[in-house]
């Protein structure tokens, strides 16, 4: 009796699965034309990891930004209606005034901004904030310090004016001022204790802090003294409150949205999660999808033989058929587009035709495989075997690694998948204790200075970011040159030269596939535009809930 019942259940499951409609992404306008935002309600969203620190200046994870950004403002921010490239003022009172030599940036500040403790925000607070980021005090880390290398000084020229003086003109400085990590902190609080913000919250953002239940949720409520207004003059934020639930398990994340206990998750779901939610929620669900400024790199330990030989590195990148891989992997995980060092379809992306001339990006995989085999034979390592270090995170690391390992088999290379818990994985990568590793890079903006930062020499500006361990003065000069080029068209050409050299010729760190972001959410959530990253517009000021 029992086996028969089990058998019938299995058959039923198989039939149900075969008959189930396959999901297709449904575009949804975040705020339909003519629709008037409504005030009130509580936004319930999922954050897929817990914040290791409350201090975004020291953090490198979205897990800090997504629950905590609603309490803070920035100097500039990405326009929530665009969330890709349009920068607008936040606490700045207009766009910066730039001197003709492009070395002095003067920024006027709003005078109606107050911290949640009631203190007025002034230029001193902005100066203290940027000084903490650019010149962190003893015991305080600042992972993005290198981005501000062009800054010579930050000064308060009057109570509501800040002046940045640069050592050299750079095309990326406005983007650097719109970094979502640069929460404006109180100078008084920082003076009292530079680490105060690691465990406390006091910002000028749209929401005040209510409570943090570790392992469960983070809650905030509307800040009545928030300065922001929408284009119709309505005070922001629209929401009364928000609650961010920390849910790490993908099945529980999907279940939370399916049961409407949560409305949205801002990092990204897999195609399977999207399809499952579409089947379950039908018209109650909206989906936004977009290319993502995130990519997996295969990083070669250039301090270890045979990976110190460019021929071996080139052979290993040549073997990977990214074009067919992108098609196949995009059906099961969050990677899709083939691109170089800059986001495909982004403002600095090389055309596909040009990209296909670079080793590792050929459309003709048979030709690439032959070339790779020859390179390995020339280097004397035809039957190469090595450990391929990866982190213990399924999406997208595991399928991307399995894909690469399969591709390498085509040229007679055997890679053993070595999976480690994230902390151990990062420690090994940073210590050079690996052969070949699967690394990643995510940014908030399409900006070569950000995306190329990890290509600087390991003992120079790339320290801590360049995990391949090489020093290459020629590449350093090329990166510097594009950074100082203020003509966008010329800058693009310089960036493409870097891609040809760093990926094609040297193959120090080679991209596998760029990530693709899928956000399925309850349709009642309005005002969120997916953009190209999961870091920006997280202050929730423009999000509202449609009455059901």
């Amino acid at each position: 009796m029992f086996p028969k019942r089990v058998g019938l259940t299995l058959v039923a499951l198989l039939l149900a699965s075969a008959c189930a409609p396959s999901g297709t992404p449904a575009g949804a306008s975040p705020t339909a034309a003519g629709e008037k935002p409504q005030s009130g309600g509580e936004l319930l969203y999922i954050v897929t990891a817990e914040p290791p620190t409350f201090d975004a200046h020291q953090s490198t994870t979205f897990a800090t930004l997504q629950p905590i950004s609603p309490h803070y403002s920035l100097l500039y921010k990405l326009d929530p209606a665009d969330n890709v490239s349009k920068i607008i003022p936040d606490v700045a009172d207009g766009m910066p005034t730039v001197s003709t030599d492009k070395l002095t940036w003067t920024i006027k500040l709003r005078q109606d901004v107050t911290f949640q403790d009631g203190q007025q925000m002034t230029a001193e607070d902005v100066v203290a904030t940027y000084n903490k980021i650019i010149n962190p005090p003893q015991g305080v880390t600042s992972p993005r310090k290198g981005v501000y290398a062009p800054v010579a000084s930050v000064e308060a020229t009057d109570k509501f004016t800040v002046t940045f003086k640069l050592k050299y003109a750079t095309g990326s400085f406005l983007a650097s001022l719109a970094s979502p990590w640069n929460y404006i902190y109180s100078a008084a609080k920082l003076k009292q204790d530079p680490k105060w913000y690691e465990k406390n919250v006091d910002g000028t953002g749209p929401f005040t802090f209510v409570e943090y239940q570790k392992g469960s949720y983070w809650a905030g409520k509307k800040n009545p003294s928030y300065f922001g207004k929408d284009k119709n003059g309505t005070k922001l934020p629209y929401l009364d409150s928000y609650k961010a639930f920390f849910i790490t398990d993908p099945n529980r994340q999907t279940a939370a949205i399916q049961s409407k206990q949560a409305m949205i998750e801002f990092r990204g779901f897999t195609p399977q999660q999207r399809d499952q939610l579409q089947r379950a929620l039908g018209n109650d669900l909206a989906v936004q999808e977009s290319p993502w400024v995130c990519v997996n790199y295969i990083t070669f330990n250039t301090k270890k033989k045979p990976f110190d030989d460019a021929r071996v590195r080139r052979a290993l990148t040549l073997a990977i058929d990214r074009w067919s891989g992108g098609d196949a992997l995009s059906k099961q995980t969050i990677v899709k587009d083939v691109g170089g060092l800059m986001r495909p379809k982004g403002p600095f992306a090389m055309s596909d035709a040009d990209l296909q001339k670079i080793p590792g990006f050929y459309k003709d995989n048979a030709k690439a495989v032959d070339e790779a085999k020859k390179l390995l034979a020339d280097a004397g390592v035809s039957n190469l075997t090595f450990n391929f270090l990866n982190r213990n995170v399924t999406t997208p690391y595991e399928p991307v690694a399995v894909f690469a390992i399969n591709e390498w088999k085509k040229i007679g290379v055997t890679a053993t998948h070595q999976v480690k818990e994230t902390a151990a994985y990062l420690a090994d990568l940073r210590a050079g204790n690996y052969d070949v590793g699967l690394d990643f890079n995510c940014d908030y903006f399409d900006e070569p200075d950000l995306q190329l930062a990890k290509f600087y020499s390991a003992s120079g500006l790339g320290k801590g970011l360049n995990l391949a361990g090489y020093d290459d003065p020629k590449l350093d000069q090329m990166i510097d040159a594009q950074s100082r080029e203020t003509d966008p068209a010329k800058r693009k050409q310089l960036v493409w030269d870097i891609e040809r050299y760093a990926m094609g010729e040297q193959a120090y760190q080679v991209p596998v596939l760029w990530w693709y972001r899928i956000i399925p959410y309850l349709k009642i959530v309005r005002g969120y535009v997916i953009g190209s990253n999961h870091y920006t517009t997280m202050d929730m000021a423009n999000i509202w809930l449609a009455k059901q």
Partner: protein, 299 residues
Amino acid sequence: MTAAEDPARLRYLEETRLRRARSAVLDFIRRRPLGVAGAVVIVVMVFAAVFADVVAPYGPQEGTFSGLPEPPSLQHLLGTDAFGRDVFSRLLYGSRTALLVGFSSSLVGSTLGLILGVVGSYFGGKTDEIIERFMDVLISFPLVVIAIAVIAALGPGTTNVIAAITLPVIPRVARVVRSSGLAVVRMPYIEAARSVGVRAPRIMFRHMVPNVFAPYLIMLTAFLGQAVLLEATLSYLGLGVVEPEPAWGNMLRGQGMQFLDQAPWLAIAPGVAISLAVFGFNLFGDSLRDALDPRLRAA
């Protein structure tokens, strides 16, 4: 020529031993049908593991990379996963991992437990105290907690999984063997051996071990099932055997969970295999215990 050296008598003794063994096996088959069913499952599993290269229609990592799992068909009896790999073939190769980890860890763990149990019961006193307190520490943690701690320290991978599962088996076997050993050590033949000056190692391994072998064997088979389950648990948690190596636990983990809704065969196949294997080992172990324990033999 003594009676012991008489070839006719030796032949008679050998035949008697064989007859008894045959009779015991036939008795086991007749009286323990569930144990036989368990044995059949184990034999099938061993066969699949040993002859996977011949029986499996595809290699464990061979596949046409399409990106979506294919449902069961004549070409792929249990369907394919998202890498186009044949689930049936991976299941067969996965039985190698299950058996390798299961047999290695339960054999090594049980044998170390046997040695510690016999040594403790033979020497008694401080030696026994030290061993027992150490065993107390190990046994105070659940099986899976110790295994996860070992993996956390050593990292994932087949060898480390074997070590992780071996460790928690040791105290459990040592405890059972010790209790049997305490009864054996008081037997007159042990006293006799001591009195004629036989050295401790010889007494322990020549005279005590054969007499505590039944509980050892029972524990060994009992832990085989647990070891298979623990290996699957660790691999499912991403702490055991990692992709692309085939293991039932990691087949359940990544794509099994990811495609649960659209491709349930990815989770059902390894899930059923794990259940069957554990069921088989448990049935066989229980029946073996019943057959070897004189108190339960009548039942």
